[in-house]
């Protein structure tokens, strides 16, 4: 049945000119990102736009974003098994592949954020069990191992397909809660902090799970669209329908959860919570996040994905998926910014930033954050690395003799 996704001519075409440019561009970005990281290692994090008030920035947004992308794919693959969504089952292997790639790159994304990256082994030597970060590292590792095992079972040559199907089913039952846990623990890195009212909501874990399903589905949709365009992959209409429906539902739940938080803060009108919300609401200094999340990455893709005439057109599905990713990324920025720009103590002269520039104050009321080229270069490199992994992984999957692998 999976041959609906795998075109009958099993092997992928050898890399053409487009393919070489594609991979070359990724390679170049990775080299640039590595160069920027080495530069950052020699100077310290002073070459970033972060300071003591907004002390987490682009690296952490991107980390949370990559984690989200990863669980989406696996939730989909496992959910297809557990809940018997037949139209999604053919996507299992691509889902698990992107899950493995995304979670690996997410883990790597933490490294440039560390002030002392060379001490990273201390996480293993002196783990502090009260820290959500330790639990996140454990679940990230577990999740990666799980995805690799799952992928190995899916692609291994076997003479007993029914045994493989049983194993996959068992794995799916493990995979789904693991994925939910991955998101929840990542959310709790933020959500458990009493110092940041914007984060300190029990909605955060459900929000992370929802936005993960949303962004993960969008990523897989884009991968399929690229495969369709460059590899003449044949994807069934019902698969597109399922993907569009899943994304539309996830957008709705996501905005519902974010909206509930807005309403709670607006009605309660507690100063420390209002201060954070007012930053992102229309009229605030970070209002572009509101528009990016609610309109560009919310309303517009939602309409594109639910109007029957539009959701069958691959171009529009592709645009909707891209916008969804923009919206989810905006949500990650909104989370970190809303939590950090307005520290709790808002009294003159403000909060110290930890660096000194002649003629400028070392204190800020509203934390300022402008990412530098170093941060952009490193994040671009990481994104290119992810795209490279997915591209090569896809080609590897396609090179496997599908007639034998598939049920």
């Amino acid at each position: 049945m999976s041959t609906r996704v795998e075109s009958p001519a099993a092997r992928p075409a050898p890399l053409g000119r487009t393919g070489r440019i594609w991979l070359g561009a990724f390679g170049l970005l990775i080299v640039l990102g590595l160069g920027a990281w080495i530069y950052q290692l020699t100077q310290g994090l002073i070459v970033t736009g972060m300071r003591d008030v907004v002390s987490w920035g682009l690296y952490i947004f991107t980390f949370a974003f990559f984690v989200g992308l990863s669980a989406g794919g696996l939730i989909m693959a496992s959910g297809a098994e557990v809940f018997g969504v037949k139209s999604l089952r053919p996507l299992s292997r691509i889902g698990v592949l992107t899950a493995a790639a995304c979670v690996a790159v997410a883990a790597i994304t933490i490294i440039p954020d560390l002030g002392k990256a060379q001490r990273i082994w201390e996480l293993v030597r002196y783990p502090q069990w009260s820290s959500p970060l330790i639990w996140d590292i454990i679940i990230i590792t577990a999740y990666f191992v799980f995805a690799v095992v799952d992928l190995a079972v899916m692609t291994r040559r076997t003479t007993d397909p029914s045994k493989r199907a049983r194993t996959l089913r068992v794995l799916a039952y493990i995979g789904l809660p693991t994925a939910v846990l991955l998101h929840s623990i990542t959310a709790w890195i933020f959500g458990l902090q009493i110092a940041r009212p914007w984060w300190n909501t029990s909605l955060l874990a459900p929000l992370f799970v929802t936005s993960a399903i949303l962004s993960g589905t969008a990523l897989i949709t884009l991968v399929l669209l690229a495969a369709r365009r460059f590899d003449r992959l044949d994807v069934a209409a019902e698969t597109w329908r399922a993907l569009c429906g899943l994304m539309a539902a996830a957008i709705a739940i996501d905005l519902f959860l974010v909206g509930s938080q807005y309403i709670t803060i607006l009605w309660g009108n507690v100063p420390r919570e209002r201060a954070a919300l007012d930053l992102v609401l229309p009229g605030g200094s970070w209002q572009w996040l509101f528009w990016a999340e609610w309109v560009v990455g919310g309303l517009v893709p939602f309409v594109l994905l639910v109007v029957p005439r539009w959701r069958t057109r691959p171009v529009l599905i592709g645009i909707a998926s891209l916008l969804v990713l923009v919206g989810v990324y905006a949500f990650r920025i909104e989370l970190v910014v809303g939590g950090m720009v307005k520290p709790l103590l808002q009294l003159p002269p403000g909060n110290a930033i930890g660096t000194y520039t002649p003629g400028e104050t070392s204190f800020q009321f509203d934390g300022a954050y402008h990412p530098t080229w170093v941060e952009y270069a490193i994040v671009a490199g990481l994104m290119a690395f992810l795209a490279l992994l997915i591209t090569l992984g896809y080609r590897w999957l396609r090179s496997i003799d599908t007639s034998e692998v598939e049920e």
């Binding site: 310290g44 994090l45 070459v47 002030g115 996480l123 970060l133 110092a195 103590l345």
Partner: protein
């Protein structure tokens, strides 16, 4: 030197005495050889009755973003000072989040950072409600080309909890002048305060001045509703004077 198990260090700051001169903040920089832009201790301008708790999180009137400007509308003006450094919380959020235990709490209640273990993830800065932590973003810039203050490395329980030469990429903060209190000397901010607004001592000794002030003078804590239970107490400027 190891922390004394019987002591529980605490500090009381009398806001009725504080004149907002920043001597403690500058003294702190001096004793700790703090580079340019580093403030372990800062003096916030506030108004009596709006010193701690929820109301202190109200956004300051834009006309009063400068220090030393009375808050309020004439004639209802008020001026008070709130010196803020590490609160050495009993239930310290920074200690709970540190993934490697680099930030830890000694038996005497002093919250310290191990300069040799910190991996620079800055999770503690995200977790601290008081915004008192300082990160070494780059190579330290000093106003003078020689070391000032204590000037040596200081180890407690084998851990480097103070160094005048800042390693790039680690977090640091107020240590209650650990190298001094372990030697039975007052923290430097207490010693340099020209009006004696800072009182430091052993909270576990009921006869100590800090313990008596905390017990009998209506002492408050900063952002008490968060439940961090700081070991720094404030005697509010508008309190009933206990003569």
């Amino acid at each position: 030197m190891a922390a004394s198990a019987t002591k529980r260090w605490g500090m009381v700051i009398d806001q009725n005495l504080c004149i907002g001169c920043w001597t403690c903040a500058v003294g702190c920089k001096e004793i700790n050889n703090a580079p340019l832009g580093y403030w372990w201790n800062r003096i916030l301008t506030t108004t009596p009755g709006e010193t701690t708790g929820e109301s202190s999180t109200a956004i300051a009137d834009p006309a009063s973003e400068a220090i030393d400007v009375p808050h309020g509308t004439f004639p209802a003006l008020g001026l008070a000072y709130l010196p803020v450094a590490c609160q050495h919380c009993e239930d310290a959020p920074c200690v709970k989040v540190c993934p490697v235990g680099a930030t830890y709490r000694r038996d005497d209640g002093t919250v310290l950072v191990d300069f040799e273990r910190c991996i620079g993830c800055r999770y503690c800065m995200a977790a601290c409600p008081y915004g008192i932590r300082v990160f070494n973003w780059g190579e330290a810039e000093q106003p003078v080309d020689f070391t000032v203050g204590y000037g040596k490395d200081y180890y407690s329980d084998g851990r480097l909890v103070f160094t005048p030469d800042r390693p790039v990429g680690v977090v640091e903060k107020c240590t209650f002048c650990v190298e001094r209190i372990d030697d039975d000397v007052q923290p430097f901010c207490v010693e340099v305060c020209p009006v004696g607004a800072r009182i430091f001592g052993d909270l576990s000794d009921p006869d100590s001045e800090v313990a008596q002030l905390v017990e009998g003078s209506g002492a408050t804590q900063l952002l008490p509703d968060l439940g961090t239970d700081p070991r720094v107490f404030y005697l509010p400027a508008d309190r009933e004077r206990n003569v």
